[in-house]
Symmetry: C2
Subunit: 115 residues, 2 copies
DNA sequence: ACTCCATAGGTAGGAAACCTACTTATGGCG
DNA sequence: CGCCATAAGTAGGTTTCCTACCTATGGAGT
């Protein structure tokens, strides 16, 4: 499958946090939510998603808990208060970043003269 | 100096190519154009900019040539045809990427239900 | 005269992020 | 019985970017 798995480049964390904003999900569900929510564009390998979730948990931004459903063990993640604050500031950061890049890419007048 | 030097993460190349779109610049001028054009947001260290330009040159996307101005040696870079093509496709890539991320961050309805 | 800063180019080494490839395990469908 | 989707993970490598250095010139300030 994997439509365009290549490059979230540092913006994965904010997407993972956003995936948990409306409520907890287990790891695999986070991965699927990202794939479905992006129309297949962000179809990440498990080798990207699971380590990233561990990173966020180690950073105290999400908390994980084990459960069992249909005989399969699941680790459900939920945002911590720090995670919500991080999500909020990362959203602001994304707007600023995306705005700056878009301005430079779409508006040639953003650049100083070549002389 | 260096306002928020941290994270262009993979989007640096397209910005460097865009900096050369209107005409050639030397390395230091590319760095300054990026800083000024972004309102100080993308104030990259030379240890980021120069290796990136070397990378783009090695990839055949830009060509460099030495010159001397005011007793200082300069390496001027210009887009190659391949560089222009890459800039064009990277612009499309950026639009798609930024659009997808923004949709997921700003529109909670983009996400599948948490249940 | 001397020092400092902006300009101009560069490298070495490390940290972080992401991907590839692999492993383990269960439940259901053909 | 085999295969696929679900579910979780690790190991190792590549790339990208940053920190911290080095060299050199010209001009401004003291």
């Amino acid at each position: 499958m994997k439509a365009e798995a290549q490059a979230l480049k540092g913006h994965l964390d904010v997407l993972l946090l956003a995936a948990l904003e409306q409520g907890p999900r287990h790891g695999y569900a986070v991965k699927e939510a990202l794939r479905e929510g992006s129309g297949g564009r962000f179809d990440l390998p498990t080798g990207t998603v699971y380590p990233a979730l561990h990173r966020l948990e180690a950073a105290g931004l999400i908390t994980g808990s084990w459960s069992v459903a249909d005989g399969r063990r699941r680790r459900s993640y939920a945002l911590t208060p720090a995670g919500r604050r991080r999500l909020s500031s990362d959203r602001d950061g994304w707007r600023a970043f995306a705005g700056a890049v878009t301005a430079l890419l779409e508006g040639p007048s953003s650049w100083p003269a070549t002389t």
